[in-house]
């Protein structure tokens, strides 16, 4: 499958921001994930053709970074931080609760492609430990019970757009700091929601 004209135009606009097309490799890898739900061989070929690399070179770059998911990944990627500050405040129990509720072990994806679960290293929310991200949208101060409730809600409500503020209101607790005005844009898949990459969507 080749990229639509819209995606191609977005790719060209990104490439134009850099001194060399090669610099657009990482952003374009997110475009590729957005196209296919995870990073496919086809996606890497599309990126390679645009940034002047071989598909093998693109694969070598992609494989260095944990966020370029080359395996089938769930619609909701639940990342539970288990680094030091979150661990001190009970993150291991949050991870266990999330795995129990979703039936998905750390590092796995379920049959239906609804959930992937992973433990994450520090996600910069240590003041609101334990912290969880869904498709990289953050929820702070999550207890094991709230972690379960969050996953049950994702399964039932199936939000098209994952919104950090909404999840925080429903399932969050202690925050690292006041977040300021709420965000109306959120994530539509297991990749970061960022307007210039076309990966964010207005949710409310």
């Amino acid at each position: 499958m080749t990229w639509s004209q819209k995606t191609d135009e977005r790719a060209q606009a990104i490439i134009a921001r850099y001194p060399d097309p090669r610099s657009a490799t990482m952003p374009l890898l997110y475009l590729a994930m957005h196209e296919d739900g995870h990073l496919t061989e086809d996606g890497m070929r599309e990126v390679a053709a645009r940034v002047g690399l071989t598909p093998a070179q693109v694969q070598s770059v992609a494989s260095f970074y944990t966020m370029y998911k080359r395996d089938r990944t769930g619609r909701y990627l639940v990342s539970v931080c288990t680094s030091i500050s979150c661990m001190l405040l009970g993150a291991d129990d949050v991870l266990a609760a999330v795995s129990e509720e979703t039936g998905v072990a750390d590092g796995d994806t379920d049959e239906d492609g609804l959930f992937s679960v992973e433990h994450a290293e520090c996600i910069g929310a240590c003041g609101g430990a334990p912290a969880v991200q869904v498709n990289y949208e953050l929820v702070e101060g999550v207890t094991p019970e709230q972690g379960k409730a969050l996953c049950a809600w994702l399964r039932e409500a199936r939000p098209e757009v994952v919104l950090g503020d909404e999840m925080q209101e429903l399932f969050g607790g202690q925050r690292s700091f006041e977040w300021g005005p709420s965000e109306t844009a959120g994530a539509v898949g297991p990749f970061p929601a960022f307007e210039p990459y076309g990966t964010a969507k207005e949710g409310r």
Partner: protein, 429 residues
Amino acid sequence: MTDRILTTRMDAHPADSNVLARYEATGGYAALRTALASKTPEEIAAEVKASNIRGRGGANFPAGVKWGFLPPETRPRYLVVNGDESEPGTFKDRQLLERDPHQLVEGIALSAYALDVRQAFVYIRGEYPRPARRLQRAIDEAYEAGYLGTGILGSGFDLDITVHLGGGAYICGEETALLNSLEGRRGEPRIKPPFPAVEGLYAKPTIVNNVETLSNVPFMINQGGAAYDAIGPEGARGTRLFSLSGHVRNPGNKEIVMGMTWRDLIYGLGGGIPEDRAIKAWIPGGASAPWLLPEHLDEPVTIDDVGRLKTMLGSGAVVVMDETTCVVKAAHRIVRFFAHESCGQCTPCREGGSWLERMLARIESGDGRMMDLDLLLDVSDNISPGLTWPPKMTTICPLGPSATAPVTSIMWHFRNEVEAHITGGGCPL
């Protein structure tokens, strides 16, 4: 005396400190106007140099000195802002990006003007989409209002800022790994020299500075570098954001003037330990830093005083551990991080890190052997010969030695507790 610079706007205007109208209404972009209308680039650079600010990304290097390393003739030059913030315990740049992004944009514009840069990049870790969106919106507003783009505010100065999302690799916070990543390569650190100021992005002279470092620049131009230099003790000028987490009642980012004691920070601003439990140890500057102990509570929080105690303020991340903490588990968790984040180029880091991780895992689970105790220090010594502070390096970058910090911390200060895991077949707590 000024005791806060970076967080005043967001505290006074929580509902809209991130938008242009609020920024302008509270003095924003005045420094850029003044600079472009009536100051030379050299005059702006001189203010930053006079401030004596030391970089807030972890290495504490004086910003003005680094700026002075640029070769005078070569163009283009690039400015790269380090927003990779992945050192466990650190969440200060996230707050600056989300809550006062224009302060950073103005800091970048002033710095770019001073350095004769036309293209700046902000590298933000991929797990920070919300901070990236907030910054991007501020950049869009700034273009719209004529603070970025071509002929800024009617002057001859042009500047483009591009936000670049990372891919989830801690090592990309190291400046040369970051530059490789920004060139579309694997994020592997480069051998230095050459330093980025001489050969950086696409081998062009490049200044890399942290988000917090550059967020201070508008103040330095508005009030003067000397005003900044008047804040705080020598060698630790200005205010600084500390990320406080772990076992404290009031976690969060605390903007302070350095020189207060650890007790003031942890028990004063941090509110002490929940349920008044006793403090066991704390990490003074991110997971890479050797731990401090209760006997250090009355030591001053400055870059050099902490260095004297053979550890560092690093990224300003303070992680408090109370008496209920299993030090083996804590050290294991930190070593796991470094083992996972090793880029794999250097054998001592790649192999040593995972050796340490496996040994700590087996001690934690009660399967350790007495010989593991010396082996832990032995492997650490192979990564960083002599286990000195600052660490001796056998590796391309300091990530390798970082993995030894938690190991020496528990072996030198909590050896009995480590041993008890072995003799008792598990955690004694």
